[in-house]
């Protein structure tokens, strides 16, 4: 047990938690103190990070049920027993997927929702909403509809919606996993500002290279156990992921896929115009660019899911594999193994599911129901199900979203195995580490245009695109 600290905003004492109908605890005898400042929570997918964050505001165990042992105190309240609406005034939680946590359709109303629930009078409500938006630099968005915001803007609105309640502790679950570098930087700046104001800011993240150096302290959550780490560990781990000496392939002599003079976009509105791109067999092309720049549109057009408004798209003979942004959504069978087997059967492959399961570290999860897995594990299951069956063209949309370091290594290895067999790979990502590690060529989409970045950008990419 840690020595008591009078400065601590949250304190857990020998706390264990079991979800309903689970024999294994998701949190094991956690002793923990959270002080003001920025605390980074790292650890593999399914290790218990999200559960820990939900414990701070009482959602675990009060919303989810289950069993709990030990003691907890957060901002002077007992999160195991205090009503959640009361805890909400002292503890804010921003969830992983900001799109599913919106109640209203416009920015100011969404931010005011918590104040409405607490019965705050209108004049004070307006002052607090304005003040919170100004603090996060989003005052210009007040009248905007949420659906028109970029990922970074939307994440800051979600943060404002909890900050408006003036919590002492703010927890954020993977806030940068869907953001471009600019959006991630804005969220990081907001977190640092909150920490400087004396609040406790707890951030669960896999993208340690961005947040690691800024953190005052790091915790690691593995298998439900929480241990102290060092603040720079994240950056070091992130750098260690890259493969030293990985040499991009020489430009292919012929194209496996090609887009010539393509204009494309959802509906009949082109978000990309006059686009001419191509990629060779065994080549990895990374698409970078801010949220809304058209990366997904380009992938869907290349996959044949979105007919181009103008121009020609050509794909290689054979199967095209496509991993959508929310791949967990496609999983519906009783086990992970059955999902992989379905793709193999459909594509007429004689491959066995076990090879794909092993490649993505899913051996021990093979017989689990995919929707009971953590978001990172689910992502791996979807990747295994998508990439099975030796596709000739592989299209990956944000494949590392929610992935831990081990899963990213599995993904990198799988992509290399595919390219070694001659598959062409196109991946859209905000993960500049991944792009630097895997891509033979990097294309940036911005303002409706595609620009090929010069070769050898790997080092610069790790620092983030401008």
């Amino acid at each position: 047990m840690m020595a008591p600290n009078g400065n601590a905003i949250a304190r857990l004492d020998g706390l264990s938690y079991w979800y309903p109908n689970q024999d294994e605890p998701s949190l094991r005898a956690v002793d923990l103190e959270i002080e003001p400042g920025l605390t980074l929570v790292a650890g593999d997918s399914g290790g218990g990070k999200s559960t820990l964050l939900r414990l701070f505001n009482g959602l675990v165990p009060q919303f989810h049920g289950g069993r709990v042992s030990g003691r907890a105190e957060v901002a002077g309240l007992d999160p195991l027993r205090s009503p959640i609406p009361r805890l909400a005034q002292r503890v804010g939680l921003v969830f992983q997927d900001v799109e599913t946590q919106s109640v209203y359709g416009s920015v100011a109303r969404e931010i005011a929702f918590g104040l409405e629930n607490l019965g705050v009078v209108r004049a004070e409500m307006r002052d607090r909403v304005d003040e919170t938006m100004a603090a996060l630099g989003i005052e210009g968005l007040a009248d905007r509809r949420l659906s028109t915001l970029s990922g970074g803007e939307r994440q800051r609105v979600a943060l404002a919606a909890v900050l408006v309640l003036r919590p002492l502790l703010v927890a954020l679950d993977e806030p940068t996993s869907q953001l471009d570098p600019a959006g991630a930087a804005a969220v990081l700046a907001a977190c640092r500002r909150l920490a400087a104001e004396g609040r406790a800011v707890v951030v669960a993240e896999h993208r340690l290279e961005t947040l690691g150096p800024a953190a005052d302290r790091t915790l690691t959550v593995e298998g439900g156990r929480v241990a102290a780490g060092d603040a720079q560990g994240g950056a070091a781990r992130g750098a260690a992921r890259a493969t030293p000496g990985y040499v991009p392939r020489a430009a292919a002599r012929y194209a496996a896929w090609e887009m010539r003079g393509v204009a494309t976009g959802p509906g009949r509105e082109a978000v990309l115009a006059d686009l001419s791109l191509a990629g060779g067999p065994g080549e990895v092309v990374a698409l970078l660019g801010p949220n809304g720049s058209g990366k997904t549109t380009l992938l869907r057009t290349l996959a044949g899911l979105l007919p181009p408004l103008a121009g020609t798209v050509r794909r290689p003979a054979g199967r095209t594999a496509y991993l959508p942004q929310n791949p967990g959504a496609l999983l519906h069978l009783p086990t992970v193994r059955a999902e992989v087997a379905l793709t193999l059967r459909r594509t007429g492959s004689d491959q066995r599911p076990e090879a794909m399961l092993a490649a993505f570290g899913l051996d021990r999860l093979a017989d689990r129901y995919p929707r009971d897995l953590s978001s990172g594990e689910r992502q791996r299951a979807a990747l295994a199900a998508t990439l099975a069956g030796s596709p000739t063209l592989v299209l990956l949309d944000e494949p590392t979203r929610g992935m831990d370091a081990a899963a990213r290594r599995s993904l990198a290895a799988a992509v290399r195995a595919l390219t070694d067999r001659g598959s062409a790979v196109v991946l859209a990502t905000h993960d500049t580490e991944l792009a630097a590690e895997l891509a033979d060529r990097t294309i940036e989409l911005r303002g409706g245009l595609a620009t090929e970045l010069r070769a050898g950008l790997a080092t610069e990419l790790r620092g983030g695109l401008p």
Binding site: P85, T100, V103, T148, P307, G318, R371
Partner: protein
Amino acid sequence: MTAVPGSGLGADSIEGSAPASEAHAGLASDAGLASGAGLAPRAWLVWSLAAVTVALCTDNPVYRGLVALVALNVLLTWLPPGRRLRPLAVAVTLAAALAALINLLAGHTGADVLARLPDALPLLGGPLTLESLAFGGAIGLGLVAALLSVAPLSLILEPHDVVDAMPAALERTGIAVATSLNLVSGFGRTFTEVRDAQRMRGWKPGGLRSWNEILVPVVLTAIEDSVLLAESMEARAFGAGRRTSYATASFGTREVVVVVAALAAAALFVGLRVAGVPMDWYPYPTLSLPPIQPLAVAGCLGLALPAFRLPAARERCR
């Protein structure tokens, strides 16, 4: 833009379907401002309820047609940028056509026989009459009028406007409606994502059972999203007690005029019915012109007041 190396492409290709100039012309952006509902949400709610009352209070196609036209006019006047009327138009047209078809096939009453189906066909066998077709059209027109009347609640108002429109006692119901409206757009997005992903895994639409692969994950995802949303609402103190509203209740002259006209129209139709004035239309056994009451027509036209949009109404406080 990048250079295209060599050739050697495979068999699969897609040709663009629209000329480049048209595609370029489509490069547009939505400023994304909140909707331009210049009328107070509660006035919209009253107007919608009154218009539905009128549409369903009679099966006279003249009144129903008038309500449909008025509602369409109002929608076209107030539709915010970026919102599309086409999906609704397609849906109401299909609903009306289906209603007319079902009555034509199953009615079998009327003097003017257009065709005849074999008597051996259960339910459908018998004469297909002009009167059945006309009455089916009137039923369809009622559906169109009713759907167009409630359409402003989803097409013009934001979900939070729906909450504001509800009386205090129904505020929680309003929140439930608002969150449901938010989930509807997510439902469509998930459907597209899952269908695309399954197609790329080799799924092909076949019989009803083949759609399980799409519908099961879409429904499961919708349930998961609902649970996440409930968590998010709890985490922001939903259920703490008596709520207040961020919105300023601005019930001005325009709202009063619209509400009075709408309530008068609804009261007029109910009153005329109660007084025994012939309001309905029954085209059997031979087709006849529907009866028209000038007062009822005036009531329908009164519903058109929101279509007169004053310049000041373009502004909207958040």
